[in-house]
């Protein structure tokens, strides 16, 4: 009997934490459900507020429609229609068939007097523009504020910049050429010299393990990276001694410091322009539906998405990107053709002034 009592007692003692744990989980679940419900309510309220704000911001405004662009703006001398007519072909050529979705994201502008200091009502929707902008500046505003349709976070993270149209793609390629030549990375230099595997590494395509060793190949590069970019970050606390060792050319210390960086904070050897040019190349190669294919499957690896957009294998696309960049070598900083004539002209002019000087020193 006493043994039975003992067993019952033991079972009840062992079961009590389980039941209390069970109740804790239930309580947490209820709290989570409550939070979710509050978040949904807040979302609905925010949507209503946005909608009301949009109505307030667009009251008394005109709508300009050019192609798939919809511009809602108050009456003003801003040359928005002309700007839209210039911007539309550039936008259309980048997003291709996906521009069908652009009318869902209208531009909302409020043209304001640039010289007035009168307080205006604060709007939380749209952009204020001084009404004295010319067509070129207005076109740039449209191109730099257009919403890329279905642009997913994975693509945005990899790209490191917004995918927007540009009026001067050759400048972007020239900037990438300068990066390929001057970036302090042997891998980038290998890419410049034609090693496509290196190009894929520095563009962060494919395998993402061991990036430190693949991006910054030599000990000197790793030391320069630590001492150039992370001295303040590592100078305090437990890493201070390792930093000193790194400064004394100990590669193990430099490597350890760089490996201790939070995920995603190792500086990429190439800036966002390089990846932007690659995406533009893929979209150009893939035709009108290329953008739609690029954004069709956000959970797929970036190289597969680019490959699908361009309708070619990733190695061919990267080789095409590299050739395009190498061909876009910027013009050297020599004098323009007229500068020599101008210098000769000014020399002759001042010489003539000297010839006209008086023989009599009065």
């Amino acid at each position: 009997m006493s043994r039975l009592l003992g067993v019952l007692l033991t079972v009840s003692v062992l079961a009590s934490p389980v039941s209390s744990q069970d109740s804790l989980i239930a309580r947490l679940r209820r709290q989570a459900d409550s939070l979710l419900s509050a978040w949904r309510d807040a979302q609905k309220l925010a949507a209503v507020a946005d909608s009301l704000e949009q109505v307030r911001a667009t009251a008394g405004s005109d709508t300009i429609a050019v192609g798939g662009l919809r511009i809602i703006a108050n009456p003003s001398p801003l040359p928005l229609r002309e700007a839209a007519e210039r911007a539309w072909p550039v936008i259309d050529s980048l997003y291709g068939s996906a521009v069908e979705d652009l009318p869902r994201y209208p531009f909302i502008f409020r043209a304001v007097d640039p010289d007035s200091s009168v307080r205006r009502t604060v709007l939380h929707v749209g952009v204020e523009l001084p009404w004295d902008l010319d067509v070129r500046a207005s076109t740039n505003v449209l191109l730099t504020t257009v919403t890329a349709p279905h642009f997913d976070p994975a693509l945005a993270d990899w790209l490191g910049a917004a995918l927007r149209p540009t009026l001067r793609p050759e400048d972007e390629r020239a900037a990438v050429f300068v990066q390929l030549v001057t970036a302090p990375s042997e891998a980038v230099r290998g890419c410049f010299l034609g090693d496509i595997a290196r190009c894929k590494d520095v563009l962060q395509l494919g395998d993402s393990t061991g990036l430190l060793a693949r991006w910054y190949v030599t000990p000197a590069e790793r030391e320069a990276l630590v001492t150039g970019s992370f001295t303040d970050y590592f100078a305090r606390g437990a890493t201070a001694i390792t930093l000193q060792n790194c400064r004394q050319h100990r590669d193990d210390a430099c490597t350890a410091l760089l490996q201790a960086l939070p995920p995603g904070s190792l500086p990429r050897p190439l800036g966002p322009a390089a990846r932007l040019v690659l995406v533009r190349e893929a979209l150009r190669a893939g035709g009108r539906d290329a953008y739609r294919r690029l954004v069709a499957s956000p959970n797929t690896a970036i190289e597969a998405r680019l490959s699908s957009a361009a309708r070619m294998d990733i190695d061919s696309l990267v080789a095409r990107w590299r050739n395009g960049v190498v061909a876009a070598r910027p013009k050297p900083l020599t004098l323009p053709w007229w500068a020599g004539f101008a210098a000769i002209g000014w020399t002759a002019f001042f010489g003539f002034c000297a010839l006209r000087s008086s023989r009599w020193r009065l």
Binding site: E186, F192, P332, L335, T347, S357, R359
Partner: protein, 221 residues
Amino acid sequence: MRAMFRAVLHSQWKWSRLIVVLGTVAAFAIPLLSLQGAARADRGALQAPELLRAVQSWGTLYPLLATALGLLMAIAAWAPDHRGRHIHALTLPLARWRYVLLRFGAGFVLLAAPIAGVLIGSSLAVLAATLPPGLQAYPIALAMRFAFAVSVAYAVFFAVSAGTARTAGIILAVIAALILVQVVASMANLNLDLFGAAQTALLLGPGPLAVFAGRWMLVDV
């Protein structure tokens, strides 16, 4: 006329040979020094940014040297005449404009030495250095630019030196008037930027000092 030019050239050489020799040595040395150390192949991928930084830093010396050479050569061309109150020039059986032209030409001939110094120094520096892939050397473009800058600087200072004290006074008065107008405009809160306009007119486009502006790069992408 040729004999006369030779005589003027000889006298001008005597007065300015120190400037010419030192200027030529400096013009020869700057390109060599700008690539010294930075153009080492053992720096790997770090070589290119270091090299460009060094070349850009040393590049600021070319316009300074061009200005200094133009100024000193112009002063040296006229200093003995100023000291002798131009009596020698008045005694010559020669029109004033011909005399000035001879002095002007002789100065240019002497300035050819520093220009050649830049060209030879740049070419040697580039031949001795190992440039990283993607970078290119521009010794001829740099020497041409230096030649234009020296010419403009020399012509400007030569014209000022050849003028009378009255001319110099007028030039100074115009500059002082510009400064005064700008100060008064600032005090009156007027939107007038004379200095900015002057800078644009002198340094941009086909302005007289445009050849001095910008980066002077012996090596670039």
